[in-house]
Every structure is written in C-alpha cells, then in structure tokens.
C-alpha cells in the first residue's frame, strides 16, 4: 500500500523533472533566438560593406584616367574652362557608375569634382613636328630646371623626318638628392633604339612613320617595348635634352607647379596665339568627393587625387 507521504515524494521527482525541462527549453529558445538574430544581422551588414568595399578605389582609378584624358584633349583651354569640362565629364561618369551599381545592388553612388579645391600644374606641348630644341635653336638645353615634379613625358618621334643615328639624350634629375636617370633615344629605321643609362638597349617599333614612347613610364605606345623610364626617379624636377642632330618629333611634359621657376618654354597656349611649344594648364591634383549610400552604410569621402601619380 502506498502511503500519502511516499506518493508525494514520487510526484516531487516528476514536478522537479518538469521544472528542469522547462528551464532547459526556455534557455535553449533564448540562446537560439540570440544566435539567429546575430547571424542574420551580420549577414546584412557584411553584404553592404562588401558592396562598398572597393568603390573608392574604382572611383580613384577611373577619375585619374578621365582627368589625364581631359588634360591632354585640348591645349587652348584656360584653367576655368578645363575645370568646367572636367566637372561635366565627371557628372557623366558619375551617372554611368551609379547606373552600373544600381543594376546589381542597392548602393547609390555619386562622384563630384571640385575645381576650386583642385590644384593645377602646367603642360608643355610641342604639337607640331619640329626639332627638339629651345627657342634659340640650341639642342643642348633644359626644358625644366626645378620648380615642380615632372609627372608625364610622352614623345612622338617622327622617324621619316629624322635620320638613322639621330640621337636624343633625356636626363631627369632630382636636384635635392642629386640622383638622375637618363634615357638615350636613337633613330634606327622605322623604330627607335632606347637605352636607359647603364641598361640594355630596347628596340621600339613604329607605325606609319611614328614611334610613340612614354618616356616617363618607360614603355612604347606603338610597341610592347619596355625600359627604365624617368618615372623610376624619386621626384624628377629637372629635365635636360641633348640632341646630336635634328631629332624631329612632338612631345608633352606635365609638371606639378603652375608657377614658373626656370624653364625654356614660357609662352602660353591659347586661341589666336599659337606658339609651339607652349604652356597649357593641367590639373595636377583633382579634388573628388565620392558619396556612397546604402541601407546600412552611408559615407562621403573627399580626396585630393594626384592625377599623374598614385598619391592621394
């Protein structure tokens, strides 16, 4: 026979088990909901951040390329006109980028160019085929002697108008350190032999009587030739030319400063006045604002992009 006391003790075990089970169930549900919420939240934020991860980098790379093209498009623009053109084309680019991003995600992007916060350098251009010499006809001369960093030097050699053996020596110097890099260009048939100082000679083939060479980066535009360009020098601020004969071609050099220190080419380019070579404005540092907005990430980033180097 089961007494009342014994039955109560047995029921106590059952009630205890039920209580313990309830506690376990409650804790598990609580823990589960925390984990679920955490995991869901992380996934959303991570996706948004990933979508915006490389926006700034993509914008910087594209804006540099865009501004370089616009700097070199015309030589008769004033700084204000150049700034207006860059602002307009940045707007076109911004809309295209926003549309491209909107098609595959939920991130809104806008890019804006600010001309008043940008800084200008100068572009020295010889746009007609001519001897590479100074205004007095000297072939051993300094195009730039201090007064800013050289960031671009493209040369178009006219192999038809030049003779085999015509040679131009380009020397870039960093006046502070005294370091220098020289490149010797030697007309050879339809191409040019390019020899960096102390290096091996590379043949750059031409097309239709011209050889296009990026002397700064050390590569050919019309060929896959490569050599050590003057851009390998840290801060080249002086550019010397020495031609042995009539070395015919066109060139464009961009320097960081708009003020004149010592340089041979001082005539401004402009409509009605057409000196050759002449000086035109070039945007050296572009002030660009990138705005990014999504459901979870929103920011604005303004940077001064150095157009001809990767500094910012």
């Amino acid at each position: 026979m089961v007494t009342q006391n014994n039955r109560g003790r047995a029921q106590l075990i059952l009630v205890g088990a039920l209580l313990l089970a309830t506690v376990i169930l409650g804790l598990s549900m609580l823990l589960n909901s925390m984990l679920l919420t955490g995991a869901t939240g992380d996934t959303g934020a991570t996706a948004a951040i990933e979508e915006t991860d490389f926006v700034d980098y993509d914008v910087e790379m594209s804006m540099r390329e865009l501004v370089v093209r616009l700097n070199h498009e015309e030589r008769n623009r004033t700084p204000e006109e150049l700034g207006a053109v860059v602002a307009t084309e940045t707007d076109h680019f911004s809309r295209a980028l926003a549309e491209a991003r909107a098609r595959s995600g939920s991130v809104a992007i806008a890019v804006e160019y600010n001309n008043s916060s940008s800084s200008f350098g100068r572009r020295i251009v010889q746009a007609e085929n001519a001897d590479i010499s100074d205004s007095g006809g000297s072939r051993d001369w300094d195009l730039i002697d201090g007064g800013g960093r050289v960031g671009w030097f493209s040369l178009s050699v006219n192999t038809t108008a030049s003779q085999d053996g015509d040679t131009l020596v380009v020397e870039a110097i960093n006046q502070s350190s005294g370091d220098d890099v020289s490149v010797t260009l030697d007309v050879n048939g339809t191409g040019v032999d390019v020899t960096p100082g102390g290096g091996t000679t590379e043949y750059c083939e031409g097309e239709r009587g011209r050889v296009l060479i990026d002397v700064y980066a050390g590569r050919g535009f019309t060929d896959d030739c490569g050599f050590t360009g003057i851009g390998s020098l840290d801060w080249p601020d002086t550019l010397k030319f020495d031609a042995n004969d009539e070395f015919v071609g066109k060139y464009a050099v961009v320097v960081s400063e708009s003020t004149t220190q010592v340089e041979s080419v001082t005539d401004p380019c402009g409509p009605g006045v057409d000196p050759d070579p002449c000086r035109a404005p070039a945007i050296w540092e572009a002030n660009v604002t990138t705005s990014v907005q999504s459901n979870t990430v929103s920011y604005q980033n303004t940077a001064n992009l150095t157009v001809y180097t990767n500094d910012r």
Binding site: R7, L25, A96
Partner: protein, 213 residues
C-alpha cells in the same frame, strides 16, 4: 502482515521507478530538443556554411582586386581581349561558353585555376555593361561559363571604366578605337558587344562579375 508490508514496498518501488522513468524521459526530451534547436542558424541544414561562403567570397574578391592592379594584364585588358572574328574573347570556345572550363588568360586565369578549378570549384566570369538603349535587356557577355550556379554560390564584382580612345587588346587586334566599333553582330565596322553608352570620353562602365560555387 509480512505479505502486506512486502506488497507496500513493491508498489512504492514501482511508483518511484515509474516517476523516475517519466522524469528522465521529460528531461531527456528537453535536452534533445535544446541540442537540436541551438544550432538553428542560417547555416543549419548543411546547405549554407556562412564561414565557408565568406572565405569563398574573399578569395573571389581578392582575385578581382589583384587582377585589376596587374600592370601586364589588368581587368580592363581582359574586358577588351575580344576577338572580332570568333565573336568571343580571344582563345574562347564559343560566344555562349567563352573560355568554358579552360582558364582565362593572364594572371587572373592562373589564379582562378589554382584557387577554384584545382579545388573542384566551378565559376562563371561575365561582363555586365550599360546598354546603349536602356530598354535593351541584353547587357552582359560571357568570359567563362562553367554551368548554372547552385544555391550556395557567391558573387564578387568590380567596376571597370572603359574610355573611347582605348583599343581591343587581343593579339592581332587593330588600333581602331572602341567608339568606332559596332555593337551588332553583322556590323561592317567590326563587332564589340559593349556599346558606347556614356557621353564624353567615357565609353562604358562595366561590371566584372565572378560567381563561384
């Protein structure tokens, strides 16, 4: 008397046993339920492993980033590595498959091969571009198609800006600038599917998408 007492002890023992068994079953059920429900996250069921997908996405993103910074064969070079005659990317199989299961050229192809193909992963690589006519649904071309992605696929993407005065980069390509190409297959001026969709010197802003599973 002794029979009654023995009977009482037996019944009490059976009651304790029964209560204990029921109690243990209740606790066991609760523990089993808790063990099952604690792991209920988006990755439950084995179909989605969040950390694995994240790692896969990081690898895909890294490949696109490294490729875009490659001086010899950048993403822009890849996008313009077009063969007019075969109407696909140079060395590709067909316009629909692109490179298919072959790996694309350049460092990017090698990275894709080493990172994914050699580990039994599949990927699709495609270029999405802005259409000249916004109503035109045709706005992508295939660099490599290896199949239909499954539900665990991850996507990495980068945007590349093309400019009017750039040229195609495939071996033997002419020095015709992009803006001079037609976007119709029968175009006499040459065929490049990416159209000039932006005013000014910008030609198009394309998105290179890498889908891995």
């Amino acid at each position: 008397m002794s029979t009654d007492r023995a009977s009482v002890v037996t019944v009490r023992g059976q009651a304790h046993t029964l209560e204990g068994v029921i109690g243990s079953l209740v606790i066991l059920s609760a523990v089993l339920f808790a063990m099952q429900s604690v792991a209920l996250t988006p990755s439950t069921g084995g179909s989605v492993d969040v950390s694995e997908r994240q790692e896969l996405r990081n690898q895909a993103t890294d490949i696109l980033v490294l490729s875009s910074q490659n001086e010899n064969f950048s993403l822009s070079t890849m996008v313009r590595y077009w063969n007019e005659r075969t109407r696909t990317f140079h060395g590709g199989l067909t316009p629909r498959l692109g490179y298919g299961s072959r790996h694309p050229p350049g460092a990017m192809g090698e990275m894709l091969n080493e990172t994914f193909s050699n580990r039994s992963r599949s990927y699709n690589l495609e270029v999405r571009y802005l259409p000249k006519d916004p109503t035109n649904p045709e706005n992508s071309t295939t660099i490599a198609f290896q199949g239909t992605p499954d539900e665990n696929a991850v996507v990495a993407k980068r945007t590349v800006t093309l400019f009017d005065n750039q040229t195609l980069t495939a071996p033997g390509a002419s020095d015709v600038e992009l803006w001079q190409y037609g976007t119709s297959i029968n175009d006499q001026d040459g065929y490049y599917p990416v159209p000039n969709a932006v005013k000014g010197p910008v030609y198009n802003v394309v998105e290179v998408r890498l889908i891995v599973w």
